[in-house]
Amino acid sequence: MVPMVEPLVHMRGISKAYPGVVALEDVSFALARGEVRALLGKNGAGKSTLVKILAGVERPDEGTILIDGKAVALRAPMDGIRAGIATVHQELSVVPELSIAENVFLGRWPTRGRRVDWRRMQREAHDALALLGLHLDPRQPVARLSVAERQLIEIARALSQGARLLILDEPTSSLVAQEAETLIRVVRQLAEQGTSIIYISHRMDEIRKVAHSVTIMRDGRHIATAPVADVSNREIVDMLLGSAQGEGGSTRIFGQPGKFTPLLTISDLRVAPRIENASLEIRAGEVLGIAGVLGSGRTELLQAIAGLRAAHGGSMTLAGRDFRPTSLREARANGIFMTPEDRRGEGAVMMLGIDENLVMASWGSVSRGGVIDRAAMRRKVTASIRSLGIKLAHPGEALGNLSGGNQQKVVIGKALNAAPRILLLDEPTRGVDIGAKRQIYQLMRDAAADGLAVVFVSGEIEEFCEVCDRVLILRGGCITGEVEGSAIRTETLADLTTGEHGVH
């Protein structure tokens, strides 16, 4: 167990309010050297706010922070870094135009004399990434990388700071199982070497693997802190949600296979460079999962269907007619809508109101002759907020003020409001808490029950079991497997995606 000597960090009586929302209320938090603490809570519980205060990004309204027993004032991110605190924030903050190496050393570029020492930087960046199992040329620009790869680069950046305290705010939100495993191994190693770690995640299975202890927050308050071994998953979920609505049985409800009708048939689709030859069928009334490892081309497949990426071969047939979308608009006109995996960069306009984001893709339905019908917009927004269970102070407030999970719900709400026939969801539950995840699953099921074809990509295999009628395995650029109904199980899918049992 962890030796409980003087804590490395001690936050006392921290409070923080934003207009209309109390993000933190009298929260105290202490962490020992070499301790890995999982910080848990629903979306909007105040986890990110707490670690932002520790990183010097936000300032508390009240409370003190002690490091090594001495009170410190963390006024800016630089103060946090100087105090030996490295942070991977929930929202990605890489500079796409710069190279991988420059991003890993952002603001701390190694120099020789006055000049940037490119060779050393590239070598060290390469090593830092290799530690995380990522083998990329550090000279290429980050713009070409996927969200998961960007996330790993941010983690490498924090790791390379040699910090005493490492804060990881949902580091695995867009990683698939193996990358998450690698990260967890690295985190454990660092802890053994004496680094303290705060680990925020909504993935229960990770918590047990990585953390010594858990802190649970709810509505801006500290609820409990305990060694992981002393609490069961059920107890944790109950504390998170604030009532005895824990795990229960699986809530899985299937559609009726007899009612599925083929809507889009894809044959021999080729999308350079990742997809070689994919053939699949998308059916109305069904939730279809697409599983695959990082870089298997899941996003590219969705993008080709949504008209965002040109296909280099093969054909698609939509409701009996040849379909070859050359633009997003064309796909949209045919009832296809996709939500992107990068919420901040592509999914939503953070400066605009929650209400406007919700109707952004369906202005036609809440306006007449280009003039917005405010009553209709209110009705639609109110209905969306209720059905999605979005936690907010006012529908008109900027989307950027919401917690990550709530932002994600808005992005999905926008897609649903666009009333598509085929709904493509790329990592829709990224960074979403357990309660909200269930709501999103339910939304997907409801959409399917209404006759939509829902296509769902996720890096978390467990999710497919909760919601999908059918799962396709994308591997090596081809669809290599298909699992249906009650045969959808975590172990089966894990084996199929990594090819462990050689099923072809």
Binding site: E58, G345, A348, M351, L352, M360, L392, A393, P395
Partner: protein, 329 residues
């Protein structure tokens, strides 16, 4: 207080109301301070004729400023409007000189103005040429064209009833100011209540997200420039009417007064944020400041310095007050 789960718009939330209007409230205070100062130190500043004068001057900044606000919100900039005004005036005068009826000439000038704006928008939207560069080229080209067309000599417009447009009165208010206020009402409506208006904010806030939401990003970009071009042409017509001639040297530096008014009004130069009401207050602020400095008999060169400093301070106060009210650090 626990976080609120509010689903109703009906419930009035004072803090939300105030934090949404921090910018306008701050500006109103700044204008009051400026007015108090000028009332005390500039003789004749607070008289009715002078206030009406300010309103007339404001129109020549304000009309274009409505379009410029949309341009800046969409994340672009148009610095060609000053020369565009001069060009429009010269074109109108020379069309009139060659016998084209003024009403027809005015229509031609406005349509051409919109097309010039389209040109900027098309280069920006389809070829990714930065709007600053395109409008810089237009800034040079339009003034040059006006000078070539008129040999740099004012072309007199021989229709005295036409002068009532720019120099006349309507219900005791300067006609250009009436036009400005009508356009203000229209543009406020466009910005807040129409799909196009909200799309401008979306494009400026996050163009990629707007594109993925099937908002016609290119069309929005072209339209904001076309609108601003048409407004510059309209201002050129009013200016020619006020001066009684088309003058290639008119409106020099006007683009900077306009951009200053819009930015003082709280519109972000980086796009995504801004309001018409803020711009209206910014226009009033700039017009009153210019007028007051003249009345105080400040040396014309020193006026530039004072204007620069006051604009900088106004923008800074504005940004700081917005941050305060949003409760961020």
């Amino acid at each position: 207080m626990a976080p609120i789960q509010s689903e109703s718009y009906q419930k009035f939330d004072l803090r939300h109301f105030l934090s949404g209007r921090a910018n306008e409230i701050g500006l109103l205070v700044a204008i009051l301070v400026l007015y108090a100062f000028l009332a005390a130190f500039a003789s004749n500043f607070m008289t009715l004729p002078n206030q009406l004068n300010i309103l007339r001057d404001a129109a020549f900044v304000g009309i274009i400023a409505w379009g410029m606000t949309l341009v800046l919100i969409s994340g672009e900039i148009d610095i060609s409007v000053g020369p565009h005004v001069a060009f429009a005036g010269v074109l109108l005068a020379s069309l009139a000189q060659s016998g084209v009826p003024l009403a027809v000439a005015a229509l031609i000038v406005i349509v051409l103005g919109a097309l010039i704006g389209c040109f900027t928008g098309v280069l920006r939207a389809f070829l990714d040429v930065p709007s600053f560069i395109v409008t810089l080229a237009l800034w040079l080209g339009l003034r040059g064209t006006a000078q070539v067309m008129s040999d740099a000599v004012p072309i007199v417009i021989m229709d005295f009833s036409f002068q009532r447009l720019g120099a006349g009165w309507f219900l005791g208010i300067p006609t250009p100011a009436v036009i400005m206020l009508i356009l203000f009402a229209i543009f406020s409506f466009v910005a807040t209540r129409t799909v196009f208006g909200r799309s401008v904010y979306a494009v400026g806030g996050n163009a990629e997200a707007a594109r993925l939401s099937a908002i016609p990003v290119a069309r929005v970009r072209i339209l904001v420039f076309a609108i601003t071009g048409a407004l510059a042409a309209l201002t050129g017509i009013l200016m020619a009417s006020r001066l009684g001639s088309g003058n290639s040297g008119a409106a020099s530096g006007l683009e900077f007064d306009i951009i200053a008014a819009v930015v003082v009004g709280g519109t972000s130069l980086f796009g995504g944020r801004g309001t018409m009401l803020g711009t209206l207050l910014g226009v009033v602020f700039i017009a009153a400041l210019v007028n007051g400095l003249v009345l105080m008999g400040v040396d014309p060169f020193a006026q530039g310095i004072v204007r620069g400093v006051v604009i900088l301070v106004a923008v800074m106060v504005n940004i700081i007050s917005i941050k305060r009210m949003r409760g961020r650090t």
